[in-house]
Subunit: 283 residues, 4 copies
């Protein structure tokens, strides 16, 4: 597979943005593989994503960026250019449940998901053997004594292992505000309900108590406010009166891992742009 550059842009909406950007690319014979656009009418902002074949351009990413910069200034763009040849580095946090971890490691080892996983961090020892079988370092952190210190250690590990994205794969611990702010837009959580229903603890119990006819899961960026960050992906499945809480937990695992892996893929491929508390997902 040829590598490509992904150019994502957001700027105030006006006429001529697409022409300017695609004109710039065409000027160097850049071959656009995939192009997506969106206008948020309320925010009056424009969003775009271009995938350009790296080998169609006469220069490297750095030079592209240097030449593109003046145009970006003209349109007051926030933008970034990423190179698909460089894998994003995911630091995965887990507790005891491993269905999301198992799912992610399978996609990683079969190269379905093109990422690096420099380490897995957990507040329990249970999953060490499985992680280490993959040749990935497993780091245990005790969270029972000093939670703040533990999260500071996590932040330090994330830096040390040069993480791009922190994945809470059913981590079951509330991330403190200082971490949310420090890694804003870089922490992804899977919540086991169809948000905004059933925020917080034991959502399947809440769902069972309310007597809903579908359950769901939500992949979202983590912010200060619990389970209220920008939603990347969601899904639901049908249940009925015969299903116990244990059944919901079991069905739920299948939705959780699917929703997390889809959301994570969008993020990793730079398909997710954030606008206020909402996401644009260019599938």
């Amino acid at each position: 597979m040829t590598s490509h550059y992904t150019l994502t842009i957001t700027c105030p909406d006006r006429a001529g943005i697409i022409a300017a950007v695609t004109g710039f690319i065409a000027q160097y014979d850049g071959f656009i593989v995939e192009a997506s656009y969106h206008t948020d009418v309320a925010a009056q902002r424009f969003f775009m994503r271009q995938e350009i074949r790296a080998d169609s351009l006469p220069f490297e990413a750095d030079e592209f960026s240097r030449r593109f910069a003046p145009l970006a200034v003209d349109f007051a763009m926030s933008w970034q250019l990423t190179d698909s040849a460089r894998n994003k580095r995911l630091v995965i946090l887990v507790s005891k449940q491993d269905h999301c971890l198992d799912d992610l490691l399978h996609r990683w080892r079969t190269k379905e998901l093109n990422v690096d996983i420099p380490c897995v961090i957990s507040n329990h020892e249970d999953l060490r053997s499985f992680v280490e079988w993959h040749g990935i370092p497993f780091i245990h952190i005790d969270m029972t004594i000093d939670k703040t210190a533990a999260f500071e250690q996590i932040a330090a590990l994330f830096d040390e292992y040069q993480g791009d994205t922190m994945v809470l794969a059913r981590f079951m611990q509330i991330v403190p505000p200082f971490l949310c702010q420090r890694f804003s837009g870089r922490i992804i959580n899977i919540h086991h309900s169809f948000l905004p229903s059933f925020i917080g603890a034991k959502p399947y119990h809440q769902a069972h108590l309310r007597g809903v006819k579908l359950i769901g899961a939500t992949c979202h960026y983590v912010t200060d406010e619990l389970d209220a960050g920008p939603i990347i992906e969601q899904d639901t499945m049908r249940i009925d009166h015969g299903d116990t809480v244990d059944d919901l937990v079991r069905y739920g695992r299948d939705i959780e891992k699917t929703v997390l892996s889809r959301g994570l893929r969008y993020h990793v491929e730079d398909r997710v742009l954030v606008c206020g508390n909402k996401t644009i997902v260019f599938k």
Copy 2:
């Protein structure tokens, strides 16, 4: 189609209930067409539904009930026997939007839904011609002057037209507690969100603001507490960042009418049993 009797029962859970009831039916050569059972473990209650071919029994519904009564007492059963030969009578309440009404009237006139619709009540005149084309009385009630009086008039009309079930087909008015209590378990509403998310007014606006990736609709029994009654049926559909509030409203209409008609069918066929604030739906 042969008519059948539907026997629905709820009682404290214990061994031998199915044997006692099916033994009673077998004793008279009753032919069971469909049989469903459920135990609510938390409530320690048992629920069952039997469809029996009317012509397999040597007596009519009244006699069945008379003979069944002692057994029901032994097991402390709440129960009812309905005859499919007698259509339930739905009084439909609407405002200006007619997608649910159109859907229900189509199912009624093609006999997909075996019910009688003695009248349609509305706080607007808009849908008179369409309803009257069906030969169904259309009654306009002004709700702008005295809401309580208007709802008392609705209750009186419901009685006058011998309604069994009141259907709020996007009625857009909050039913007062006295009516909810008087017709408990007999008022069905379609709410245009996936409850418990987005209770109250303008749920599609709320959904758009929150940035959810699926929208839904909920068919439920109406109780004192707004949008919090027992849920009969729900469904969701996928949306994305490109969809405006108007798009959500448009997609939503398709979910609303499907969910309402499914929930209503379950109710009309005596498939719904209520247990606290939850429903058992024997599909």
Copy 3:
């Protein structure tokens, strides 16, 4: 709602197409509301669709076309420009079942679907009163004596009523090749199965016999080969062993009307481009 022009293009794939087209639009300060692109790698062809706000341009559609023509020649484009201010004209063909017709007429009379319906044609008289209540001419054509003559009459009516698209809303008659060819890409059918499963007659019986666990419906362009034309939209729903053929038929009606109305909307909004026997649907 402001009107817009929709520009749809297909041409051999190469670098610079987007830049050329959006550059052309930007040169006249055209404001692009929605932009979609696709490359069919096997066919080496590029497809695009642009919605441009009509009032952002300094000239009308005709002048746009005149000026755009040379560029289209340079890139060997097949293209068309449509004006949202001009409704497409749908001629609807039905037999006796009216669930799709009812659905379409409801969307038409509530202006959810911005089309004109100059007439409804049927080989039965059953639906006359319902259609005429809408103020739409209802034309009965006898198909029992001479089918070819009947289809020639349908073609003549389609021309007389200046139809753009012929909609087979459960018409239950096989359209002869001469008509398929004459109105290629302009006849839309709803087939009551998830194609390519269960082609031809009685698909719900076929589905029941095979014991599938989901049923479906397919909206497609009609071609010479029965139920084998380009697919525009499909959907499925879950069934189980307890469902009879009659149940499948009943559930199926809900899928059929949803799938037909969605597919038709895509077509009417010029979102569907055909590539061989496949469609690109720019949602």
Copy 4:
């Protein structure tokens, strides 16, 4: 969790079957946890499944069977009684792709699926390390030289390891008739299409070529006729024109593993009864 007995029965339909069976159970104070019934009208056969709490009965499974036998004869029943305390033994066959295997082993090691996996058989060496990490024997069989001999070896291994069910978890080899017949109703396959569409090789390529808008997967019992055995479970998911064959393959893996694990669970819990070429699945 208390263990339970599962009694599954099929017999010619007539009045009084439920009463006779539940009366028998009640006579010994047997506590029914779950009860399901179905009549196949065309086949005139009745199907039922009862879960009975083992500790509510005054005797063991053997004695239950001995006492039940005369009643079974009276009604010409085919029946079986299984004990949830005894795990079914699954022999899993794989080739190189491991998404279904990974999924099944995860459910096994977390005890979500209560089965024993005495061995995994493969025609490739690729998955040895992963399987052996679980402490499960991995047996490689060369299928390139003599396919018939290889399948005889598989049959011998199945017997040696006392398998109950053979699971083709993307095995990619056509099972010969002698094996299908010998283990009728005991071989489960996952086919990567929504059957009966796209039978045989490369179904995702077929789907892409046909331009369908949904893809699917099917879990079914293996019979002599390729991909034509009784269907246990199916599901579909939405795709669009932008998806390549590789995308379909990738999405498809998620459906395949979910559908296989659901179908397998139904089978393992004795929820699947076969009627001709169809299944009754008592969920």
